[in-house]
Amino acid sequence: MARTRQSDARSRRIGLILFAACMVVAVPTLIVLFSIAGKSSSPWFGQYDPDTHHAYNFSLTDQDGKTVRLVDLRGDAVLLAFGFTRCPNICPTTLGNLAAVYRKLPPAAQERTKVVFISVDERDTPASMKEYVPFFNDRFIGLTGAPADIGTTARAYGAFFRKADAVGSDKDDYMIDHSTYAHLIDPEGNLRVLYRFEQLPETEKITDDVLRVLGTQAPGKQP
């Protein structure tokens, strides 16, 4: 009787140890598996920021001379990129891709999406932006501002720029090296998704991200 109770207790103890050992192995394995599954099924194409950071509220001038602040665009998704109008290769590629993203949005979503191009070139003016930005899409917004405001805005978005070599003999005809990321800001004004330059040609996937921040999921696509 005493022996049976003892062996019962022992087998219970062995059972507990086995159970604990299983948990030690199984729990981390499951956590790892779930996190891998979670990562691969992330619906976002760009680099998604799950934390809520208000994007810097710039106040700059558009191509029609009107002041545009980011808070004025609340309720809309904002695609934002930095560049300059004399940029012959990078900026036309970026804006061409953003124009394709915009074209692929249904009309109702286009109404709620703003594409904003901020010049980091002190030579740019509302007039030069008006000749440049509408070429890609006449609803795009091209912003210029005082060098100090442009500098503060660029820094706030982690964008970098510097004057580079002159193109020819004219020293005022210089290029500007600059960051090539594009930001997607949600309708509440939070930085949500960051795209690398190489990702921008995948316009359909970016269109899906825009629809996702607008809360108007593309039909047949699960978040």
């Binding site: 109008t85 036309p92 590629t93 000749e131 020819g168 500007i176 090296d177 600059h178 960051s179």
Partner: protein
């Protein structure tokens, strides 16, 4: 006679233009205020020697130079002029948007989408100068 002509046509080095084959060339349509644009293409070298593309001439541009795109890890991109694009022997080199390109500067006329623009590329191979004539669609 026919056989002789055929062999002559096959003989290497007969035509400089055949040294460098150009695939899918095009010029980017840019806003009307632009002072520069870029030409893109794939350069294919069929020969045993590297071929250099050094410059070019084009009726709409005052100056034409090869340009490379530089990129840092933090996403900062820039551009730099180079003396030439070298296309390795039996190799190729892609000039594409956001990457290396033939820069057309001092535009006398801004190319419009749908137009065709002639371009002559200056080449060099083993010290010998040559050229390739192209007609590029604007898009």
């Amino acid at each position: 006679m026919n056989k002789f002509l055929f062999l002559l046509l096959l003989s290497p080095g007969l035509s400089l233009a055949e040294d460098l084959k150009i695939e899918d060339p095009w010029i980017r349509a840019v806003p009307p205020s632009s002072k520069a644009t870029a030409a893109f293409m794939t350069l294919v070298n069929k020969t045993d020697k590297p071929v250099l593309v050094t410059s070019g001439t084009c009726p709409i541009a005052g100056e034409i130079r090869p340009m490379v795109t530089t990129k840092q890890a933090d996403g900062v991109m820039g551009m730099a002029f180079v003396e030439s694009f070298s296309v390795p022997a039996h190799g190729s080199r892609v000039l594409e948007p956001g990457g290396d390109h033939i820069m057309l500067m001092k535009l006398k006329e801004v190319p419009k989408a749908g137009a065709i623009v002639p371009l002559v590329l200056a080449t060099e191979s083993g010290g010998e100068k040559g050229h390739v004539r192209l007609d590029l669609p604007v898009r």
